[in-house]
């Protein structure tokens, strides 16, 4: 076994669990156990213990599935895209980003299980798939993306694992040639990762966008919206996580990356919430209204609480925090904006599901038999509009699954060398400066002034 120092040297940011770390693990394990218990209860009682019914037939599990698919984009943005352009400016964040992607895609995949009425038959996806179903493609691509993320994470960390003498290196040796070879491989991995991620988010969008029967779901903009919200939420989650583990572990996040990535996040949020929402709503508002101001207000004013949570809390506020240069320099502002952006994307998913289910195409009385309201002769089992509130069971199951994701990240921090360069002073884009045109990097003063302190923002 290597010592604490050796691990830190190789880039493990949590060389061993302290009291706080152990307590955190304890909380996560407890949440997972409670979640499993809640799922067992749900299996025994049926989905009747959820808030879903025959009209509102997808609920919290699918809303959060959509969210976590989006969140899994973070690793790609930060590791693949720059690698593809042969930049290692964000190399400090790459392994962490891919670890987050892996955890999020695992959470997304697991969230589908409790949504199934007969989860034991999930093998049907392999034994009798219908390739017309977007769900088959999504299932395949989630599995593929998960495996790819795991492999990519290993590729990014295996030389440092070898340096550490970890068994997870699986025989890889830490040689300079090997590292060079891995850099080339990482480029090709990035080339695969980008189309794979675009496919993942688009296909998830098409699960909804292909459905003629559910109001606004049938909308060609849904897939581009999914790509954009993946960029927003993925980057926001990466920023939140990086800032938190910079604070609580030996991980060192280069200080100047925060406003820089904050700016990128601001652009993503603006494209998503301002541009794409306008592109989606304006034609409808224009066609439905006659007077100029009627068109304007139909287009600007949303109809539901979820819409406001998405566009104001998750849109306008983060844009202000990230657009004002003096605010963007402040760590708290970027952190807050990122958290709010994730909240906004969560409620966009909620909003999407609600737009599909709240109004029935044929809503004449008595309506649709809910399937959940029968409690003896004389019960009113009919519903004419979709209504949904998640139950405690759904919340507990969901929290348990999210805790699995958090546990994956925590164990990654503990056992994987996530800090490239290990104990060396952290810098931004070192090779980039050495090889590229100096003019290209001076604009951001990348990495010159990083002192050898552990947590620059404290």
């Amino acid at each position: 076994m290597s010592t604490r120092e050796e691990k830190a040297e190789a880039g493990v940011v949590v060389p061993e669990f302290g009291t706080r770390g152990k307590a955190w693990i304890g909380v996560l394990v407890l949440a997972i156990v409670v979640g499993l218990g809640a799922w067992a209860y749900q299996l025994s009682q049926g989905l009747a213990v959820t808030g879903m019914d025959n009209v509102f037939s997808w609920g919290l599990y699918i809303m959060l599935f959509v969210l976590f698919i989006g969140l899994s984009a973070g690793g790609l943005i930060i590791s693949s895209a720059p690698k593809f352009f042969h930049s290692d400016r964000y190399a400090t964040l790459a392994p962490l980003g891919v670890l987050l992607s892996l955890a999020c895609i695992a959470v997304a995949g697991l969230l589908l299980l409790p949504d199934l009425g007969r989860p034991s038959r999930i093998t049907g996806f392999l034994t009798s798939p219908d390739f017309r179903s977007p769900l088959v493609w999504d299932f395949g691509i989630v599995v593929l993306y998960g495996l790819f993320s795991a492999g990519y994470l290993w590729l990014l960390t295996r030389r440092d694992l070898a340096k550490l003498g970890s068994r997870l290196a699986f025989g890889t040796e830490d040689t300079e040639d090997g590292r060079e070879k891995d850099r080339k491989l990482a480029f090709w991995a990035a080339a695969i990762a980008i189309p794979l991620a675009i496919a993942l988010h688009s296909v998830t969008g098409w699960i909804f966008a292909t459905q003629i029967g559910r109001g606004d779901w049938f909308n060609p903009l849904v897939a581009p919206m999914f790509i954009m919200k993946a960029l927003v939420s993925g980057l926001a989650l990466l920023l939140v996580t990086a800032i938190l583990i910079d604070r609580f572990t030996q991980y060192r996040l280069p200080k100047e990356l925060v406003p820089e990535l904050g700016k990128v996040l601001g652009v993503f949020v603006a494209v998503h919430v301002v541009y794409l929402v306008a592109a989606e709503r304006l034609p409808h508002a224009w066609a439905a209204e006659f007077e100029f101001w009627a068109i304007t207000s139909a287009f600007l004013v949303g109809d539901t609480f979820h819409f406001w949570l998405w566009t104001v809390v998750g849109g306008a506020i983060p844009i202000v925090l990230l657009a004002v240069p003096s605010l963007r320099q402040k760590l708290w502002a970027v952190f807050t904006a990122s958290v709010l952006a994730i909240v906004g994307i969560l409620f966009e998913g909620v909003y999407l599901i609600f737009t599909g289910y709240q109004d029935l195409n044929i809503a004449d009385a008595p309506g649709v038999a809910s399937g959940t309201d029968y409690a003896g002769i004389g019960s009113d089992v009919w519903v004419t509009a979709g209504n949904y509130t998640p139950t405690l069971i759904e919340l507990l199951v969901t929290i348990g699954i999210v805790a699995i994701g958090a546990l994956i990240v925590t164990l990654g921090l503990r056992f994987l060398p996530l800090q490239p360069g290990g104990g060396e002073p952290v810098s931004v884009g070192s090779t980039e400066r050495a090889t590229a045109n100096p003019d290209a990097t001076t604009a951001t003063d990348g990495g010159h002034d990083v002192p050898d302190e552990k947590t620059p923002h404290k």
Partner: protein, 255 residues
């Protein structure tokens, strides 16, 4: 080829819900779920008319119409296309059916169906009496189910339960590919429309509005295709009551 379809004459429908009850009974549908629903068109609640009474400024447009709604057996069925495991499929005879042993309970088909024709067993199925009713095995918790056009009855040469139960002969079942069948003739002859036709699901259920049809063309439980003679107008049919003795059947048409 056989292509089963149904014509529902909304001019004949009296809103008695007998078809809905017969369906629930025949198919052993759990309490709290319904495959066949009789909607009141336009009113605020069931059995309340649309429009206004000609009083207090009302324009006298009062009207009450019923729309029996179950699976429309679409030929471009979105539910079939979304099912990831081929549990929902379209049979060669046009019927959309579910293999309950394959269904994983993902409920994607329920999102896909624009008619909300599908129901899910959120709970263990519950029936009165507890052992179940009718002639179909109970479905288990966690699978989706819906109208099958009573395919188990068709196998026996019998019309669907709702069709038999209708006291005003508003439901006509038969083969849309046979130009001589009553359903084909009615679709050609009368004003018919299909629900949410603009969605291009191509349903095999047609609704008659406007001029009333003579209704189901024969008596007895058997399907039209089982009849030895070609179907005749109801006026010409005499009915032998099971208890013996002849009973002259009244004309089916109201006109």
């Amino acid at each position: 080829m056989v292509n089963y379809g149904m014509v529902i004459d909304q001019e004949r429908c009296i809103g008695c819900h007998a078809c809905a009850v017969a369906c629930k009974d025949e198919n052993n549908v759990s309490m709290g779920n319904a495959w066949n629903r009789i909607l009141t068109v336009g009113g605020d609640a069931m059995d309340t008319p649309a429009g206004k009474f000609p009083e207090d400024g009302g324009d006298g447009t009062l009207s009450m119409d019923y729309q029996p709604t179950a699976c429309q057996h679409c030929q471009n069925a979105p539910c079939v296309k979304v099912c990831p495991v081929n549990a929902t499929y379209k049979r060669d005879d046009g019927i959309v059916e579910i293999d309950y042993d394959k269904c994983i309970g993902c409920r994607y088909c329920m999102s896909a169906c624009p008619y909300n024709a599908r129901v899910f067993n959120y709970d263990e199925p519950e029936t009165v009496p507890p052992d179940g009713t009718g002639n179909v095995e109970q479905r288990e918790q966690g699978v989706v189910e819906k109208c099958t056009f009573c395919s188990h009855r068709l196998d026996e040469g019998l019309d669907p339960a709702c069709t038999i139960a209708c006291p005003s002969s508003a439901r006509i079942f038969g083969d849309l590919d046979d130009p001589e069948s009553t359903v084909s003739r009615y679709v050609n002859q009368y004003d018919t429309d299909r629900l949410l036709e603009e969605l291009d699901t191509d349903p095999n259920t047609h609704y008659v509005n406007g001029e009333m049809t003579p209704g189901r063309n024969h008596l007895g439980d058997e399907m039209e295709s089982e009849l030895e003679d070609p179907p005749r107008r109801r006026e010409e049919i005499t009915y032998e009551a099971p208890g013996g003795g002849d009973a002259e059947e009244e004309s089916g048409g109201d006109d």
